[in-house]
Assembly symmetry: C2
Homo-oligomer: 170 residues x 2
């Protein structure tokens, strides 16, 4: 099945981490592919990297909107590599769960072609769960998904000027 966690609230990547831990806890094989995430920054990485049965990949760790020296061409080339990896993962069928964290950001930024992805997702092994996170999930993706949770921000301390806190937001 395809699961999507989208919306503007806190909890999408955090939920993906929970799903990874749950699947690993039942002995499943998991692949976590992250976009626009600086791995060294996030606390969860220190636990995740110790888990056997989990393979992690990171593409384009910085987003050009926040880092002016990150070139669009670099992001596009990273995303192309990521799509090739997903194709390989689908062919090899060696994972029970594939998580594409912040993938919606790559899609809505037009770094990856949504039509190509939908056609690729339709060819996925039916036994493999695919989890996609990130705000602004494209409509086409929501249409083919089996489960969609929208995480809405009702309140967030950054509205009051509180910055990201170690161990809590990262």
């Amino acid at each position: 099945m395809i699961e999507i966690y989208t919306g503007n609230g806190k909890g999408k990547t955090t939920c993906a981490v929970g799903l990874v831990i749950r699947a690993l806890g039942h002995g499943m094989k998991v692949c976590l592919v992250q976009f626009f995430k600086d791995k060294a920054y996030y606390g969860e990485q220190n636990i995740l990297k110790k888990q056997k049965n989990l393979k992690m990949y990171s593409f384009t760790p910085k987003h050009p909107c926040f880092y002016k020296n990150v070139k669009q061409e670099f992001v596009k080339s990273e995303c192309e590599k990521a799509v090739e990896l997903i194709e390989k993962i689908f062919k090899e069928k060696s994972y029970n769960l594939l998580v594409l964290d912040e993938f919606n950001i790559a899609l809505c930024g037009k770094f990856i072609d949504i039509k190509k992805i939908i056609s690729l997702l339709e060819k996925r092994p039916k036994s493999m769960e695919v989890v996609i996170t990130g705000r602004n999930a494209p409509k086409g993706l929501i249409k083919i998904a089996d489960l969609v949770s929208e995480i809405k921000e009702i309140k967030h301390p950054y509205r009051k000027g509180v910055k990201c806190r170690k161990g809590i937001e990262y």
Copy 2:
């Protein structure tokens, strides 16, 4: 700060698990208190129980709405014990993060008095992050929270009759 994850969509407990893993990854001390959760059932327990710096408690593992032989009195007495534990945790100040998973269910089922809890939460150590999950978060709780994410169900496979799947839903 107080964080609430509520709403009818999938991802509340999963998100709490992610938050626990993130905090542990940065060497923080975490306490996870769960309500209405049969620990042996959930995959994440197998990973969580191996983590040093994490202490777990479970109260009233079954909900009387789903298990007719679970008496209301038993649930109330379990919830009283849980509140005593929270009071103790606040006094001892030995955790950086306290997660009260499915606590909203205990509150909206009137097993715990909401006024008592709000007054208790206001006395928490200011350095301790408190995360509360469960659908139907009471208004009074939302009012005092610093962060509230509402996880809305847009699509869920159980609507098509798909039952909970091992490694995915539990």
